[in-house]
Symmetry: C2
Subunit: 191 residues, 2 copies
Amino acid sequence: MARQTGKAMDGFVNGVDVDRLKGTVQAMEAVPELAKFTFRATNRWMKGGFNRTTIGGYRGAGAENHRDAFVIDNAEPSLIVGNDEAPSPVEYLLHALVGCLTTTFVYHAAMKGVQVRAVESQVQGQVDLRSFLGLREHLPGGFEAVQVRFRVAADCPESELASLMDAARRRSPVANFVVRAVPTSVVCEAM
Amino acid sequence: MARQTGKAMDGFVNGVDVDRLKGTVQAMEAVPELAKFTFRATNRWMKGGFNRTTIGGYRGAGAENHRDAFVIDNAEPSLIVGNDEAPSPVEYLLHALVGCLTTTFVYHAAMKGVQVRAVESQVQGQVDLRSFLGLREHLPGGFEAVQVRFRVAADCPESELASLMDAARRRSPVANFVVRAVPTSVVCEAM
């Protein structure tokens, strides 16, 4: 049985606690309210194109969940009049996209008992900065297109690999964010 | 003159080198090809919901631009069967969104000579994880909605503040990514 499902003795597949994950799925199926999560961040401008985000707790599974805060910085490349202190926001977006696709793929492979040995990806996106700089407001202001290329080593036929990646693409929260328009409100008040 | 434009003696406003920024705008207006940038990232799966992104050079202003690599990690919260080693992909997305809005706001304020003293923001997004977990594929798979709240202290009337933030929202590459659907290809090959 352990052999058939690819499950290690401790119940983990691909480093994922499959029993706990399946328990989570069952709990959310029974009580959909448990599946509703709210993630949050606060940001403070430092100088020029440099700003700092703090990410702490989140709401999920019907409760507020504490977590030690992460601090991450945004900066701009020198060509965009920045100082390269950190990746730029558009690069964090690419990071979020491939990371989310990878995790979604690995989790679903684990639930199916497919052992994954390696996942590598490359992502790139093209942006025309004339919109950002106020020169061409009618241009798409964000990435014009994004290309992701995965290389995966997994103990399954290539057809199953393709179907797992296709499911990852449909289910990944960040990928969905990219391919759909999301209602977004921006409120600004003077302090 | 320096007083009127809010420009410091060194030509910087809000930490932004305004002369250089205006020069960049003029160059891109004259030669649109210079405005076309390609940003890239590579990612490697580590274990479970933990993976690592490397971000280095980028193409822009008609050339390949080297930059020392940044390494950033994605992880999952414990409630989503992770170990909280780093923020999650959806949280990086919120980070990218507020950071990009902030920078776009600050750059355009600088170009208009408006001195900004403080910018703080809070962002939150709601996601129903039943899509991620494969329970409800017809649900929106990413954030259902996102709310951003800015508090800004700047040397301008509140009406100008509102119009600057409105421009930031229209011009921010990441905000555009969020509110529009972006053509995204995902290719996967076995290794």
